[in-house]
Symmetry: C2
């Protein structure tokens, strides 16, 4: 079988990276879908609590037009309010030159531009074809380069589109190549609606092998259908050593059953630490950060590990069970 998968390492501990970098996206990808606005001071407290958990990078907010995402209209205020912890990269989403201007004023360390592998999704998401969105990035890239700010490129619906269904591998590869040509220093490959399965992850990563170096590869999974950690495992087997996640699985809006929660950072950390992979994160501090935002939202965050607690149960909780 191995011959059929030349680029597939064997499963098991031997093939996993020693250390994985987790980019915490809860404050941005998690909160942008919240029905109720979260007070700026709560966002500040949440980001500061995340910094204390040991993240190397936190995506704090988004500089898209406030009318489009009112939940993050206070982007500048949040960045002004947080306590900058040395060594932590505080990043933000930037859609255009105006957004870049605001982001630079706010002193972000890194920005992210975003497009999709699905034309329909991109059209509905940012009202532009993929080609148009790439063109819009050029002035942003130039401005970021001038300001000495590194740029991440997001590719949404890289596996499945809610409108087009499964996305051909070639389509995702093409978009990623265009972003690399544009000069982004990292690609975040997103399973935006949490519908991908490991087979798709294997196929895309195999196709990307020749053009996208592993150090520039980040996987961004949602856990809508329970496949999040299975997709992480498939990615690890290919040597991927960077993942996006949201503390508590933030993003699973209780008012939108079909909407998908980000892969929970707690669940990802549980898996990685269990595999003997270092993350530099402190699970207890991470739980405290999720407490901050869960209290403010008033609904239970979906993270399985958060709900289950430590790997032990009191006997009263169960009857006889194989």
């Amino acid at each position: 079988m191995t011959s059929a998968h030349p680029s597939s390492p064997s499963p098991g501990h031997g093939s996993y990276p020693e250390r994985v970098r987790i980019v915490e996206v809860g404050p941005r990808d998690g909160l942008q879908n919240e029905a109720l606005p979260v007070p700026t001071e709560t966002k500040v407290a949440y980001v500061d609590a995340l910094s204390a958990a040991g993240f190397g990078e936190i995506e704090v907010t988004s500089f898209v037009h406030p009318k489009l995402v009112p939940q993050l209209a206070d982007a500048s205020a949040v960045l002004a309010g947080i306590e900058r912890r040395p060594g932590v990269v505080y990043s933000a989403l930037v859609p255009n030159p105006k957004g870049l201007e605001r982001a630079v004023e706010a002193g972000v360390d890194r920005i992210a531009v975003f497009t999709a592998a699905s034309e329909t999704f991109n059209q509905k998401n940012i009202n532009a074809t993929i080609a148009e969105s790439i063109d819009r990035f050029r002035p942003v890239m130039d401005g970021a380069r001038a300001a000495g700010i590194p740029v991440r490129g997001y590719v949404s619906t890289a596996f499945v589109c809610p409108f087009e269904g499964e996305i051909p591998v070639g389509k995702a590869v093409d978009v990623i190549e265009q972003l690399l040509d544009l000069g982004v220093d990292e690609i975040s490959i997103g399973d935006t609606i949490g519908a991908a399965v490991p087979l798709q992850v294997h196929r895309l990563l195999e196709a990307l092998g020749p053009i996208l170096p592993l150090p520039q590869t980040t996987m961004h999974f949602h856990d809508t259908r329970g496949t999040g950690l299975a997709n992480v495992l498939a990615s690890l087997e290919h040597g991927v050593a960077a993942f996006d996640a949201a503390s508590g699985g933030l993003g699973g809006c209780p008012f939108a059953p079909g909407a998908s929660g980000n892969l929970a950072t707690e669940d990802l950390v549980y898996l990685l630490h269990g595999l003997g992979i270092q993350t530099g994160l402190d699970p207890a501090a991470l739980r405290k950060a999720s407490d901050v935002i869960e209290l403010a939202l008033g609904w239970r965050l979906p993270s399985r590990v958060r709900r289950a607690g430590p790997a032990s149960v009191s006997w009263d909780e169960r009857t006889e069970q194989p």
Copy 2:
């Protein structure tokens, strides 16, 4: 790396089995933890709805002493009430000769005996050492053989024990060997509290390679910490082609936050079908079966796929999001 894992196939579609057998354990493993009793007629309707979904085997109930598991005290009535669909194996848990007697009277097609890889868990679970439990099985095995009924052997807490923590691979292998010597025709290896990670799955399956044939291997995962499907993926990479699951993720009692839900059959089927693996199950009929029991329980079953619905979302449900 491959050399470090001689028995580990490469990941990816090429190494997965073509077809997987799913044993539905919801009526037994799911309902035995319910705080409120479920009416017999509801259980009957649930099992019949499961039969209609295409399962080859359904674990209907348990013949443990009614005092120990009052939720399943109506075992005989349920088996008497269901409509036997040709080709479907209706099985039940049996702890002792008395239980076997009742099971045979009720006309079960297959029985299951159960022990654990953790002495502490087994002691608290069935008030016996592992050795004592194995001894108790001998008369049950003899009776089953005389009645011409095949026997499955469950090994609970094969990876992690809520009291002892991680279980040494050798301990699980030893218990499984004893069950095989006893003459069980299949082993169901259980991550009873849903705390295992793929590394443990790889290590145990590699150790079992020489003594446990794949056709006799079934994995029984719980999804308490979100690692259920990742553990399934690791098992598939070893060639395992049989899994236990409970429709809807039944077993996650809302009154016991630490208690663990079974891996949801819907989520398992979503993963397997997505990998191009046949299960013989009809997702729509499976959903209807879960509807029957969810309505009776009055709380939302945890299956991610059940909650997310089909792999598409209405645009209103989300704002801009990579």
